[in-house]
Every structure is written in structure tokens, then in C-alpha cells.
């Protein structure tokens, strides 16, 4: 990655200045992951104004959630703070800022996971795990580049494996193995190209059979991906990218909000570390 990529970025002064050799690709990787977290959070942004209206017009009083974690304003703050900090992170190289940005993002994503209005959306769960990776990564920035990137790839694959493990372990139940759950969720009436195509071409009985194979294929694919950590990072990254995109293409485009941040980690796993470059005159 050319060091001139960062022309225009904020420069460091004093003892906090990071060593020039190796900084660009390390920071580019961080910014790629942060960019994909922002993409995850904004993928369904056209939906947000309606959500805001519903939550302010139809408040739900529920003994289970503390009042703070039912507040619409808190929800908005938890969502927008990481987006704003992530955008600033695209232009700032100070280590303390990157650590702060990653930590605040993880806290906000955890907040979304436990808020009455968003606890059910897995987008915030995957973003939380990717933010944990970001905290670790930003703390480690400044350590030897080769070692850092090597560890970053392994942790990226471990987290992706964990997310898939969570998916597959909860499907090891008769309703998924028989296909009945996905038949009712997707095959009966979901308006998505693959299900529309299948409904147009097959009788309900055949659709039910197809749903069984579809469901079992998903269980097997997720189970395989839960073991990605056993593979070399590059192969694991390739498999993960294929499965993540496959899930979106064959299930539901709304799942991109869940997948985007994981795609960011997959890019880390696929990254070929460049040799450490000597700072050129063009470097900021």
C-alpha cells in the first residue's frame, strides 16, 4: 500500500508519533474494518426514520427493560456515535483516538444489544464482536507489523468462526433439520428472488422438500465455517467470504447489515502483508 495514501491525514507530533515504516498498511486495515462497521450500521438507514417515528409514537412500557434502555434518544445516540467516530477515524492516526473510537463503538454496540428497541437485531451483535477485534488491534498498533498482521488475521478468523458457531449450534434441533422453520420463515411468503422463483416453479409439497435440503445445507455450511480457525487464514478468509455472500444472495439482502462488518474481518484474513517500506519523501 503506497504511503502517499495518507496524504492529508492528520499528522502526529511528539512522543505519540507512530513509527513511519509499516504504519500505512496497518492503519489501512483498521480503516477498512471500521468502514465495514459503518456500512453495517447504515445499510438499513432508510428504515431508521420510520423506526424513530414508531418508537416515539408507540412507546412500550415493559417491566423487564430499565427505562434508560427503552429510551428512543438513547437508541439514537448508541447508533450515531459509532458512525460519527468511525468517520473521523478515517482521517485521524492518533493511537489514543483509535483506541477510544474502538472502545466507544464496542460499548455502543453492546448498548444496542441490550436496548428494548434493538436487542433482536444481530447486526449489533456482529458489530460488537468486530469492535472487540478493533480494540485489541488498536491497542497493539505500534508492535512489529508482521507479527501484528499475522495475529490480526488469526483473531479475525476466530471471531468469524465464533459467529458461525453461534448460528449452527442453535439450529441443531428437529425444526431446522426437517426444514420446517425456514419453510415457514422464507418459503411460504418471503418476497425475495430465490423464493419467488421457487414458488413460481414448484408445488407446495415440493417446496417443503426443497426447504429441508436448503435448511440442512445451511446447517452444514455454518458448521464448516465454525471450524475455519483450523485452516490457514487465507483459505479460511476465502471460504468465509464465499459463505457470507452466499447467505446474502440466497437468503435475504437485509442480512448484509449483519454481514458487512464480518466482510471487513474477512478482508483482514485475506490480506497479504506488504514488506515494510521505508518512508518516502511523499509521506505525510
Amino acid at each position: 500500500m503506497s504511503s502517499t495514501t495518507f496524504a492529508g491525514s492528520a499528522t502526529l507530533t511528539g512522543p505519540e508519533r507512530l513509527p513511519k515504516p509499516g504504519v500505512p498498511q496497518v492503519i489501512v486495515l483498521y480503516r477498512v474494518v471500521v468502514g465495514f462497521i459503518i456500512a453495517s450500521l447504515l445499510w438499513k438507514c432508510s428504515f431508521y426514520p420510520a423506526v424513530y417515528t414508531v418508537y416515539t409514537q408507540f412507546r412500550m412500557e415493559d417491566d423487564f427493560f430499565p427505562r434508560l434502555m427503552s429510551s428512543t434518544l438513547v437508541l439514537v445516540a448508541l447508533l450515531l456515535t459509532p458512525v460519527a467516530l468511525g468517520m473521523i477515524a478515517m482521517f485521524v492516526r492518533r493511537k489514543w483516538f483509535m483506541i477510544t473510537q474502538a472502545t466507544v463503538t464496542a460499548i455502543c454496540m453492546f448498548g444496542m444489544c441490550i436496548h428494548q428497541g434493538s436487542y433482536n437485531d444481530v447486526t449489533f451483535l456482529t458489530c460488537f464482536w468486530v469492535s472487540l477485534w478493533c480494540i485489541w488491534y488498536t491497542i497493539k498498533i505500534g508492535s512489529p507489523e508482521k507479527e501484528l498482521i499475522s495475529q490480526a488475521k488469526k483473531f479475525a478468523i476466530l471471531i468469524i468462526s465464533l459467529i458461525f458457531f453461534g448460528g449452527t449450534i442453535g439450529k441443531l434441533t428437529p425444526g431446522y433439520w426437517s426444514g420446517q422453520v425456514l419453510y415457514e420463515i422464507y418459503f411460504i411468503d418471503r418476497d425475495f428472488w430465490i423464493f419467488n422463483l421457487l414458488r413460481a416453479n414448484f408445488e407446495p409439497e415440493t417446496l417443503r422438500d426443497i426447504s429441508t435440503y436448503y435448511s440442512r445445507m445451511i446447517i452444514l455450511a455454518e458448521s464448516a465455517c465454525a471450524l475455519l480457525w483450523l485452516l490457514p487464514s487465507k483459505i479460511a478468509g476465502g471460504v468465509a467470504m464465499t459463505v457470507l455472500l452466499g447467505i446474502v444472495v440466497f437468503s435475504n439482502e437485509q442480512l448484509l447489515s449483519v454481514m458487512f462488518c464480518l466482510v471487513g474481518l474477512t478482508i483482514v484474513a485475506l490480506h497479504d502483508p506488504k514488506p515494510v517500506s521505508v518512508a518516502s519523501p511523499a509521506t505525510t
Binding site: A50, V51, V54, Y55, T56, F58, R59, M60, E61, D62, D63, F64, F65, P66, M69, F110, C113, I114, Q116, G117, Y119, N120, D121, V122, L125, T126, F128, W129, L132, W133, W136, I139, K140, Q151, K154, F155, L158, I159, L162, I163, F165, G166, G167, I169, G170, K171, L172, T173, P174, G175, Y176, Q180, V181, E184, I185, I188, D189, W229, L230, V258
Partner: protein
Amino acid sequence: MLYFLKQIWKSRDIPSAALLLIILATGTWMAALPLSTSVQQTFLRRFHLASSNYPAWAVQQIVPSMYNFENKYWFSHRPLSQDVINELSNEDTRIVNATGGMTVRRDTGIDSEIVSNMINHFPTRVATFADERIHLKDNPKGLYYFRTRYRGQEIKSTFKLQPGTTTEFKLRRLETSFE
């Protein structure tokens, strides 16, 4: 990967060890799911917002769980007996509600409409999440019946929905039980 673990151990790399510990602890907890009845019940309680308290539920929210378990709900303006719920779960005579995307079964035995659907995760979202909560303006009173199954375990919860003020609704848990 083993070399990676040894490397972290030898170098006393605290940030890496901390991240690894979180990942391993979460993975171990999930691996116990198919094996332990009490772990299964803990997971199922989480999906019905029925953990012993809010902090205990909140801690579990970092455990990955997309498209987990068999989650189903029924919404009715009248109380439903278990026999009616069982009958409805075995039938497949549903009509898509054109306005809301909910799947609706017009009941043949009792004179009210029952809304029912399969949910990917957290069945309670039909009461709390925006895309379903908007229907409260049409159905401000009623009963939610939630059922989640995983292997041999089954949890059932009943919630009562009541209008409070013009912009506020009250959701009250009537019961949660395992079968």
C-alpha cells in the same frame, strides 16, 4: 493455531490473551448448549426475556445466536387454550396480511382473528420491535403467546398487551414455563 496460542502464552501478551479468553469462554458456553439441560433453559429464557434479572440477560446478549431455535408466536384478542394453540401450530392454513406482512390465520373455531408466525430469533420482538410495534395502533389490546423449542426443551410465555396513554402501551408477563 496451536503455535498462535503458544505464542500468546509465552509472550505474556495481555491484550491478546484477554481477547482470546473472551472468545474461548463464549465458545465453550455455546458448545455446552446441546449437552446440558440447564444451559438450554438459560438460552431459552434469554429468548423470552425471562432471565432471572436484566443484568443476567444483558451479559448473555454477546453470545452469537442468529436464526436459533424454533420460535413461534400467536397473538389473539381473546385468551387461547393450549389445545387451540396446539391445533393452530399443526395447521398450515395461513394468509399473508397485505398491510403488515404478518402471516394470519383466520380462525375457524372461535370468532376472532389470530395472528401467528415463525420468528428467526427472539420471538418477543413482535411486541417490542418497530416493524411489528406499528400494528399496535390497530391492535392495542391482546395476548401474546410465545413458544420456543430446542431439542427436548420447550419454553412458553404469555404476555398481556394493554393501552396506557394514547402513545404508550403496557406489556405484562402473565407466565413463563418449561415443558
